[in-house]
């Protein structure tokens, strides 16, 4: 489980390698959290993985301050407050170990631009607090960021990779089109988190297949139980001789219903629990890889 915790940081740092050297980020982005990142909703205060943007901002600041630092793994991450209130206070906390970032899954949603780890739009996208909540409205402060001249050489190479399916081919020199500003012209719901959308799509396919296989398993086992036990009264009615048949000194109905039914039910239950656990295991492994 915990090994998977490195997934977010890995993709974060790959983004930051290309991007975080930007020296002059607009002040609002650094100081105040974007409007989308409000206080968490009450119900699911601990479900949402929204520490990632905070983490990212902090990482970003750190790298701006100290550009020579190599892009690190989780070791460089500050681990100050891990409490429940850390988020609300604005203190960072380590990302959840079991959170798989949306951009770790490569399947794009409908209408989304294919995402690569270098896709800069990922950085400030806001993860929805509650998976059940509706998409947030557009973030007002999303404005094009003009890159300073200094960073240009750094950013230039990854640009083609950043927009492989973009509308216009980007020449190495036109960095205004490259960074962040592209959101404005697009209709796709960027700030409602492209990445969440994407997990939804993937998740929908995966989860519906999980649910279907679990349901099929449950129906199969339940069917075996109902058909086996349910056929008994009819059999006793149709073949009355069964009711008088003796086995091990017991009449067949007494033996079947009074004794054997329980191990039978137990065996079915055990089989189901094992198979269902295995299905979940496969699902979880699939998701996390």
């Amino acid at each position: 489980m915990s090994t998977d915790g490195h997934v977010p940081s890995a993709s974060i740092s790959s983004v930051s390698d290309d991007y975080f050297e930007v020296e002059d980020l607009p002040a609002p982005r650094r100081q105040a959290p974007p409007a989308g990142v409000g206080p968490p909703t009450e119900q699911d205060a601990d479900v949402e993985p929204d520490e990632s943007p905070i983490q990212l901002r902090r990482e970003l600041r750190r790298r701006v301050d100290n550009p020579v630092l190599p892009a690190g793994g989780t070791g460089a991450r500050p681990t100050g407050s891990t409490g429940r209130h850390a988020r609300r206070d604005g203190h960072p906390r380590p990302p959840r170990l079991d959170y798989v970032p949306r951009h770790a899954v490569r399947t794009p949603g409908p209408g989304s631009v294919p995402v690569s780890p270098t896709d800069v739009t990922e950085v400030f996208s806001r993860v929805r607090q509650d998976p059940t909540e509706r998409p947030m409205p557009a973030r007002p402060e999303s404005e094009p960021i003009k890159l300073t001249q200094r960073v240009e050489p750094l950013l230039a190479p990854p640009v083609p990779a950043a927009e492989p399916g973009g509308a216009e081919p980007v020449a190495p020199g036109k960095r205004e089109r490259v960074v962040l500003a592209q959101r404005r012209g697009q209709t796709r719901p960027v700030r409602t988190v492209v990445d969440v959308q994407e997990l939804t799509q993937v998740g929908e396919v995966l989860s519906s297949s999980l649910i279907r296989s679990q349901l099929a398993l449950a129906l199969r086992i339940g069917g075996i139980a109902l058909i086996t036990l349910g056929s008994l009264p009819a059999m006793f009615l149709i073949f009355p001789v069964l009711g008088r048949f003796e086995l091990f000194g017991l009449r067949l109905p007494w033996l079947l219903l009074g004794v054997l039914a329980y191990p039978f039910l137990l065996a079915l239950g055990w089989m189901y629990a094992r198979s269902a656990d295995r299905l979940e295991q496969v699902f979880a492994d699939h998701i996390q890889n």
């Binding site: 998976p131 059940t132 086992i221 139980a225 009264p233 009819a234 009711g243 008088r244 219903l257 979880a284």
Partner: protein, 580 residues
Amino acid sequence: MTPAAVVALSCIAIVAVASTVIGSFGVRFARSTSDFLVASRTVGPTANAGAISGEYLSAASFLSIAGSILKFGPDALWYPVGFTAGYLGLLLFVSAPLRRSGAYTVPDFAEFRLRSPAVQRVCTILVIVIGWMYLLPQLQGAGLTVATVVPTLPSWSGMVAAGVVVIATVVFGGMRSITFVQAFQFWLKFTALALPAVILLIYVGNNHQPFNRPAPPQFPADTTVNIKTDVVLRVTQPVVFQASGTLDGTQTYGLVTWYPGRHTVMKGAQLNFTAGTSVPVPDGAPVRDSSWLTPLSAESNYQLFGIYSLIVALFLGTMGLPHVLVRFYTNPDGRATRRTTVVVLAMLGAFYLLPTLLGALSRLYVPQLLVSGNTDAAILLLPTAALGGGPLPTLLAGLVAAGAWAAFLSTSSGLVVGVAGVLSTSPALFPRGGVRDFRVAAVIAGLVPLGLALVAARLDFSQTVSLAFAVAASTFCPLLVLGIWWSGLTDRGAVAGLLVGGVSSAGAVSLSLVGVAPGGWAGMLLNRPALITVPAAFLTMTVVSMLTRKRLLPDVPRLLLRLHAPERLGLSQDRTRRFG
């Protein structure tokens, strides 16, 4: 009062006082819901399974299965098989997803899945109805137990005592909060039946009359039967006995001879049979021992329908019982929930072997219960009837009585807690919803069924309990199953299905409980409505949901994913274990 009565009453008193005292200790350990939850998460599958079984094994399981077997033979075996199979249904369709939803009761689940106050309200009402229906036989069973072990006490005294103990336990502590108490209750009940069963097998062995005789059972000793409710009996051989009271419509004193046919005995009669006389059996039950041994032997044309309806009700109804669902929340995660349920299957299977055995033996030793109609008392009377009146049988009888009380108390406390929890959190009744309100609600939740128990007709407990199962199967089962597995369920559909299933099944059930029992099809339908009402509820819920597809919540796939995804993906709701 005889020494046997004193022993039995003392055993009952010990159990009652112990539950109250331990319950009040529980307050110190579990002050709040979250205390309860967090503490409970440390409970392993085996202990939790013991607690679930302990809460589940009620008067119906402990007393009435043996009584039904005494009366109906192998057809009654469907009760214990169904009670166990219900946990298979729960395991297959509900347990892990419900645990992952974080819902604590069915109304909570409805709120989680459909976010509709209307559904929540309907569910609340249904929880209360099912809980009270289930409480009814528990309290009546307490009354029967007291009246059986101490014949001089009226049965209402036992009901009132049980009601007071249960309410006190819940108000002063909430026994539910301590898992090990419930687990202990399971082992107490198990011992209370296992010990008599083993001793009976050792003492009696095979030295008993053969079961397979083409004749009615015989009184093993001179027996006096007091008839407490009007009864229709059937004899196939001439029976001669002393009687006083109204028999077949005429006031009778002295020697009576009954010829083959049906005979009516009115309340208050006293019948004296000598040893070896054939036992008259209640109308509808198999008369001869040999036919009692075979299935489908009752003289009814609809018994196949009845059996299938019972199977449906028990298989699908268990998942809707309020006191069962609450317990599953104490598991750490969905996987442990499944394992717990499997252990429950094992425990119930082991337990139900005992009433089966004792029920069969009671056909030989306490057949007089067939005459009085009090077959539910079979297990209570069996030890002394089979082993004589020595100190050992007296102690065994006391142990059985104590086990029966443990059965009522644990089940009733669970139910009262469940009903009171739902009552006290419903804003219409208790706007504040604090601990005080919970206590007031607990008193209401206990007093109402107590009043009902005092006035309602007493059916066999297994019958009353299966009526509650039928209502649960016709309402909560469709809601849970469709809500967990089908993304198309809408709030309108849920309400419609709940109303159709609830009104039809609860209507049939209350007619049965009031004592309106027409013969033939109608009577069978009223007594065993599940085979009709469950499909009706499923169908209504599905069709109405499809008609109101516009009301689907936009994030249903997400909700379903959360229900089914394993916890390690972090989609589940309660995370206090990791981050708390």
